[in-house]
Symmetry: C2
DNA sequence: GTGAAAGCGCTAACAC
DNA sequence: GTGTTAGCGCTTTCAC
């Protein structure tokens, strides 16, 4: 196999098994003497007066079982309240039927709809989706990919830029995962997302059309590809309009929280020569921006116009309603899930990268 | 065992295996010929020149292994890139080390912080948390509890009122789960939450102290205990102040979405005799209410004051900032996780119900 | 159409 | 300290 040559960091950790989760199991506190609760397939077989093989066939919907036999088995199943032990089944079939979805922050509403899209497709195909909040913590990110290596999940969909960057660096290319929203086309990992460059350009061109020439950018960390792409879209759109971008109107944040947007906006607006419009690369940021502007006495859009990105459901509810670049969130999730399923079904086929269309939604904030 | 006597509904479903997920496995589409990829513990043992038992001991951090031997094993592990197959381990130990968390809607920010609390405690104890969005869909709710019955998870924390109601009805009392936020003290399921009756009373008393006497209530479905408790708190607080509650100022919604709050508020505000204050039982609703009021030309708080419930991070960001009843979200999650872990460690001990303190946060909306 | 038996990869007695 | 071995509960040849 082609997994990482350097399975984990435990060698370098001093304390015995404090951080070595990926190789040495954490000591379990007083293992309960779990009585082998529940009936097994053998019990059902006995009750039904057939062999375990027959029970298994019925359970798995095989055709070659006489109806009368099938009925006997089903009756025994109902009578005993038997539930298949999937741990055993999965060991035997070497699949867990679990899909991981890694997001940097479940609290960011942008991810909720994407997650729903993934979940619905997964469910349709007999998989459960396991949602993981990486919290942008490298340790957690790593541990989730380890879930894959240790066969607790069959595949993963990653929405966390930080995780993706890291994952691309390591030899995780052989792992069954796909990237969603954040990705690098140059690497061989299947992905789905939007054209961030064009989308950002569209936002800026909208502002230009409204007569703005002093346009600020509140971006996230340019370590992320989407941040670089949106920034480039912003810069190029300005230059195409004959405007030289002003460095003082550009900020890079390491958070997408409302608060981060609010304080950044306050800084931007209180400069001597303040921008007349602000493009924030996320709706959460933009909503914070509106709040921040108001807190320093600026009116939106009269004093300063604001454009966001994502079109979360909240965007239409704030005051003023937010102009924003809509991403097809549900479709992004659905597509990501389908790509992953495709890759799982055929590990060799090279799954394509997919770009979905975005849309500018004009509301009251511009 | 004492699971449900009526394991599932498959008997009553007409189509062969369409809805019989809980007993008959969905047909898998073209099972990939998974080559037994990866090295097993036997391979490591061979490479290290020891027995599988020794490898297992090293992997599980047992003490009785000579340092030299341990080093040999660790070297073989690193060289081979071996990862333990948890499917096998879990089958053997009869535990999955997975905890389920069921929420009705991952998009509702109220749950995000609770989920983080759960996750952090779970993680500290060597468990992974699996987040499930029930979407208030009975089929999905049921399928998640089935995950427990089928041993794919060791325990569950349920935040979905609808699921809890249903779960209490069925004979799922023997399953290892706890209720969080929504619960019924009368039933024997461990729970953690707040005193909804007092909290709602506090909100209303705050409005009364501000001089309001026409106070409306935007509630969710009274099928939920928390909704009934908050309603009762609202009613009693009014009566204690000598006010006869006006039925026209009370609405019950079957959604907590922003939109639902917005349209309800519009209805309430446009009555002949409109309330001068509105208490909404969730911040998402309250934020929608503010938007809805504005859309019909009402100013907050000048024309109508608004109080929410939960204190999600967004509450401080909207305009005007929302007065609300803060729930200790992180602690709710942490406590729920601890209760579950406790129950898992000792299935017989009767785990208590826990009530955590709430707090009224006064901001600009009142 | 049904049963017997092998074995998935691991842990934990039990020997030595 | 270390090795041998018996399962955990299931699916799946291979016989019959």
């Amino acid at each position: 196999m082609t997994f990482s040559r350097r399975p984990d960091l435990s060698k370098t950790s001093s304390k015995a098994s404090s951080r070595t989760v990926s190789r040495v199991r954490p000591p379990r506190e007083a293992l309960p003497p779990r009585p082998s609760e529940g009936i097994s397939i053998a019990g059902v077989a006995e009750q039904a007066g057939v062999s375990v093989a027959t029970v298994s066939r019925v359970l798995n919907g095989h055709e070659n079982v006489r109806p009368a036999t099938r009925a006997k088995v089903l009756a025994a199943v109902d009578a005993s309240g038997y539930r298949v032990n999937e741990l055993a089944r999965n060991l035997r079939t070497a699949e867990s039927r679990l899909l991981l979805t890694m997001v940097p922050d479940v609290g960011n509403p942008f991810y909720a709809e994407i997650v729903r899209g993934i979940d619905s497709v997964a469910r349709q195909h007999g998989y459960f989706m396991l949602l993981c909040d990486t919290g942008a913590d490298p340790g957690r990110e790593r541990s989730y990919f380890d879930l894959l290596r240790r066969r607790r999940a069959d595949g993963a969909i990653c929405l966390d830029p930080a995780t993706i960057q890291q994952a691309l660096g390591e030899a995780s290319g052989a792992l069954p995962w796909v990237a969603c929203c954040e990705f690098d086309p140059a690497v061989g990992v299947p992905y789905v997302g939007i054209d961030n460059y064009r989308a950002a350009g569209d936002a800026v061109r909208h502002l230009l059309a409204r007569g703005h020439r002093r346009i600020g950018l509140i971006n996230s960390d340019v370590g992320y590809l989407y941040a670089r792409q949106r920034q480039q879209g912003y810069l190029d759109a300005l230059r195409e309009a004959g405007i030289t971008p002003n460095e003082n109107w550009r900020m890079n944040l390491n958070s997408l929280d409302y608060e981060a947007g609010a304080s950044a906006a306050a800084v931007l607006a209180q400069q001597a020569q303040a921008p007349s419009a602000i493009f924030a690369v996320s709706d959460t940021l933009a909503i914070g921006v509106i709040h921040g502007l108001r807190s320093v006495g600026k009116r939106v859009p009269d004093d300063i116009a604001v454009v966001g990105f994502d079109d979360i459901s909240l965007a239409a509810q704030v005051d003023p309603p937010l102009t924003t670049v809509a991403q097809p969130m549900r479709e992004l999730g659905e597509t990501a899930a389908r790509l992953l399923l495709q890759r799982l079904a055929n590990p060799l086929a090279n799954v394509p990268g997919v770009l979905l269309p975005h849309r500018l939604v004009i509301r009251g904030s511009t």
